[in-house]
């Protein structure tokens, strides 16, 4: 039996598609309408409202709270000012990814961490001997993401007690929506201008109604996970258990990834005279890099078209994002041997409606990972596997100035 989030009364009334999926044990709408295109375009041209309550949320408090969070994650938390938010992964002692999420610094000695999956025991055990308490506040906090170019205008009209218009990228503010106290963070999983709103569950429906009401004139649409998946791939953002496997669920060593292998090397911030969990292993890896890397791929559109045309079809690749692993091969023209051999696999792929390109996130051998590198990806047309050319490009694929501005 799936649980209902605090917004369920509203989402279930709106979900005409009856398409739900299990997100951490909660029913989460895949799309509200039978197709997700409208919801996707809301992200890029209006505002999309996502119910993200199933995220796990933890609160860290105490004199050593900063020291504990700093020990947990790969990024340097002492550089995180109050009212600032960090995106960061965290690793086990072997330097392999466990999970990723945001760290909100609510005060000098108070943090909130979001995670995809339960981490309480790990956080608490890492804090052994420290003056810091970790509490699971998942059920105490409902959460919404309001993402899209008009999200600022909507929130600025609604939120009292905080200057939304002036809220910088990855900052947080406390204020009210109506009578409900809310925390607003300028964060999101779409790579667009956007905010996440954290509030007590008892205010959930009132805040939802206020957003929908005010958003009406700003193209606001409730949106589901299908639209989110397309948007996050365009933004080059990783999904746990899809683009990397957590070291806790990987049954074999080769399934695990380090931050370097997952394109998160920039989050590894060694700091003087302090250790974070996994630091030693990551130092070793920095010295002798792994042979795996994450890369953004762009498939050659004419190549796709040609394969479909050969059987008399138009290129049927638009639609929902794919989470199926797809093999990648060294290009047939590769110099120096190894042509045609498998060199990695696509983890997430989608047709990007805004870029009009077929894009993918992939785990690939490091010597093929530099931008511009030409490779081939598998494409199945009418039950026959083909290879079409593709090239490695930088991520994010889509990166509008309004995201930061």
């Amino acid at each position: 039996m799936l649980l209902e989030t605090p917004f369920h009364l509203r989402t279930t009334a709106l979900c005409r598609s009856r398409r739900w999926r299990n997100w951490s044990g909660y029913a989460a709408a895949l799309s509200y309408e039978p197709g997700h295109e409208y919801e996707y375009y809301a992200v890029r041209s209006g505002a999309a409202l996502f119910d993200i309550s199933p995220l796990r949320k933890y609160e860290v408090t105490g004199a050593d709270a900063a020291a504990l969070v700093d020990r947990l994650v790969t990024r340097n938390v002492f550089c995180c000012a109050e009212e600032q938010v960090l995106y960061t992964p965290w690793c086990d002692e072997a330097g392999k990814l466990i999970d990723d999420g945001t760290v909100q610094r609510l005060g000098a000695d108070m943090f909130r961490i979001t995670a995809a999956d339960p981490c309480l025991r790990w956080f608490q055990d890492c804090g052994l001997g420290m003056d810091a308490a970790v509490r699971d506040v998942t059920l105490d906090l409902a959460a919404l993401a309001l993402q899209g170019p008009t999200s600022r205008d909507i929130l600025a009209r609604l939120v009292t007690g905080a200057d939304i218009a002036a809220l910088p990228y990855f900052a947080l503010a406390e204020g009210h929506i109506g009578a409900a106290p809310v925390t607003i963070t300028r964060t999101g999983y779409t790579g667009d201008l956007g905010y996440e709103i954290w509030l007590a569950p008892e205010h959930a429906l009132a805040v939802w109604d206020a957003l929908v009401e005010t958003g009406r004139g700003f193209g606001l649409a409730p949106a589901g996970l299908d639209a989110l998946d397309v948007a996050r791939i365009e933004a080059g953002l990783l999904l746990k258990e899809v683009d990397y496997v957590s070291s806790w669920t990987a049954l074999i060593e080769s399934r695990k990834s380090s931050p370097y292998e997952a394109g998160l090397g920039w989050t590894v911030q060694p700091r003087p005279s302090r250790d974070f969990v996994g630091q030693k292993a990551l130092e070793r890896e920095a010295a002798t890099p792994s042979e795996w890397a994450l890369a953004g791929l762009e498939a050659d559109w004419p190549g796709i078209e040609k394969r479909f045309a050969a059987v008399g079809l138009p290129p049927l690749v638009a639609g929902r994002a794919s989470r199926d692993a797809v093999p990648i091969y060294a290009g047939a023209a590769r110099q120096g041997g190894g042509a045609g051999r498998q060199i990695g696999y696509i983890t997430s792929a989608t047709f990007s409606p805004i870029l009009k390109k077929y894009i993918a996130l992939a785990t690939i051998r490091r010597d093929f990972a530099e931008q511009g590198s030409r490779i081939e990806v598998e494409l199945t047309v009418e039950f026959v596997r083909h290879r079409v050319p593709a090239r490695v490009v930088g991520t994010p694929f889509f990166d509008p100035a309004r995201k930061r501005g």
Binding site: M1, G25, P118, C119, L120, R121, W122, W248, L251
Partner: protein, 535 residues
């Protein structure tokens, strides 16, 4: 009249039948001799009460080796295993712990008690997956003998060393802990919730005369986790038609391969001539001759009852006498007029299709053991319940149910009184204990069968009623099962073999001893196993 066979198998339990099937498939002329009118030994289904079919003794399946199922093509011979999906542990206060295959639901259920435990539960499951994977290798090899140290033994030991060194250090260390710790201490390393710890460690006491806090019980826990169904470790299920259907499927496979199977044919003794086996004498005086005789009975029967002690060396005899059986469990099989109504989960529900474990706390199990330690059955026993009719409707008339209750502790040796005097008191204790969790139970019982360890011994021949043909403790495992120097399925009498659960890898409906012993027999005969007899 003496009929001559290539091989005679004493005992038509599942191991004896597996053994016979493999020998027959290799082209031997095989005869299985079963004392009872039905096959299966402790793996039987009987209609004790009209319309109600009981798996009288063993009641769930998991350990049956997939290679045996595949090679003997048992599904074609009628084997179907239906999965057990959940475990319910009712608590005296009306609460419960209910775990099923819905990962998030189980997470939330455990998190009601402790979020930390809910998280640790996944990690625990993964660790035991590694352990099952690590020991899977051992289930398929005959143990080498470190006391003999012949070339084959040295090769075997080196192979083992390599196998274990190939494990990740963490995994090797956990394996050592499993081999040496108590179940309670082991689960203590992961969890803080008493009811969860108790239910998990309960697997560690089954068939064993030890409390959950005694070292050695973690291994028994592992033994229950090394089964696999369709590639999933740790999965348990029912055999459609009861566990007797397992025996019947194997028997059918053996017959198809050409084995002759006789019931109502108790063997009185194994015949030995000039230091080598010559056949068997039946209780009715008939003699059957064969150059190979394999006993699937327990070591006590194989060495002390069936054969003249003069044929055996002293070290084997004293080792077999020191070998520990100590039956510690009984069964109560109930025929019910309607479904049992659990106070903690009223009404019909998926929990009826799973196992129900009466194990509210570690102390509860430990106290149950204390009673047995001083020679009495537990006043409040550990009970493992399944309701086969909830999954397989053919087990009871429509709307009615059979409920199988495995009960521990019931020590074979009572300090006061006998089991014949105490049988019904034992049954009452079990029903009283259950009624605390199932308020309607006493009103719906149509028939009750109480199986004491003495009854297990009398009916199946298992010495002291031990369900594993000897305790699964480190002193009686691998190259020490049943005795150092005699763990390779051979015996000191040429042509006389052991193929029961009293040999490596031990008890449960696994079939591995029967198959491994067949491999030994065929190798000694210079034959290759697996070849089909020409027709």
């Amino acid at each position: 009249m003496a009929r001559k066979y290539d091989a005679i198998v004493i005992g038509g339990g599942h191991n004896g039948l597996v053994h016979a099937a493999y020998l027959a498939r290799a082209g031997l002329d095989v005869c299985v001799l079963e004392r009872r009118p039905m096959l299966g030994g402790a793996t039987v289904t009987e209609e004790i009460f009209p319309g109600f079919r009981y798996s009288v003794f063993s009641y769930v399946v998991s350990l049956m080796r997939p290679d045996i199922i595949r090679e003997l093509d048992l599904p074609r011979h009628g084997l179907a295993i239906l999965p057990l999906e959940s475990t319910l542990t009712p608590l005296p206060d009306g609460d419960r712990l209910y775990r099923d295959s819905d990962h998030h639901r189980t997470w939330r259920e455990i998190a009601r008690f402790s979020i930390r435990d809910a998280e640790a539960y996944d990690e625990y499951g993964r660790s035991l997956f590694y352990m099952a994977r690590a020991v899977k290798h051992l289930l398929g090899i005959a143990p080498p003998d470190p006391a003999r140290l012949g070339p084959r033994d040295i090769r075997g030991l080196l192979g083992l060393a390599r196998h274990f060194l190939d494990l990740e250090p963490d995994q090797l260390h956990l394996l050592v802990k499993l081999m040496t710790m108590s179940a309670a201490d082991l689960v203590d390393e992961w969890f803080e919730t008493d009811v969860l710890k108790a239910t998990l460690s309960a697997s560690g006491i089954i068939g064993t005369f030890l409390g959950p806090r005694s070292p050695g019980t973690a291994y028994v826990l592992l033994h229950h986790y090394m089964g696999e169904i369709d590639g999933h470790f740790r999965a348990w299920g029912f055999a459609k038609g009861g566990t007797g259907a397992v025996a019947n499927a194997i028997a059918s496979a053996a017959r198809e391969a050409g084995a002759e199977i006789r019931t109502d044919a108790p063997v009185a003794r194994t015949l030995v001539k000039n230091g080598r086996v010559n056949g068997v004498a039946l209780a009715n005086g008939d003699e059957l001759h064969a150059k190979v005789v394999s006993s699937s009975l327990d070591p006590h029967r194989t060495f002390l009852d069936l054969i003249d002690e003069n044929q055996l060396p002293d070290d084997l005899l004293s080792a077999v006498r020191a070998y520990r059986f100590r039956g510690s469990s009984g069964k109560v099989n109930l025929a019910l007029d309607t479904a049992p109504d659990f106070a903690c989960m009223p009404g019909h529900g998926p929990h009826l299709r799973g196992a129900v474990s009466i194990s509210p706390s570690i102390d509860y199990l430990e106290r149950a053991y204390d009673d047995a330690k001083y020679g009495d059955f537990s006043r409040e026993p550990y009970i493992d319940i399944v309701i086969p009719s909830a999954i397989d409707p053919a087990m009871a008339p429509p709307g009615k149910h059979v409920m199988s209750c495995f009960v521990q502790y019931a020590p074979y040796e009572l300090r006061k009184g006998t089991w014949d005097e105490k049988r019904e008191a034992f049954g009452d204790t079990v029903v009283d204990t259950l009624a605390r969790y199932i308020p309607n139970l006493k009103d719906i019982i149509l028939h009750r069968q109480v199986v004491t360890p003495l009854d297990i011994e009398r009916t199946t021949g298992l010495t002291q009623g031990n369900i594993f043909q000897g305790e699964l403790t480190p002193s009686q495992l691998f190259f020490l099962r049943p005795a150092a120097g005699y763990a390779g399925y051979r015996t000191p009498v040429r042509g006389y073999y052991q193929c029961g659960s009293g040999t490596h890898p031990g008890g449960g409906i696994m079939g591995a001893p029967g198959k491994l012993a067949a491999g030994r027999v065929l190798a000694d005969l210079g034959r290759r196993s697996g070849g089909r007899r020409g027709r």
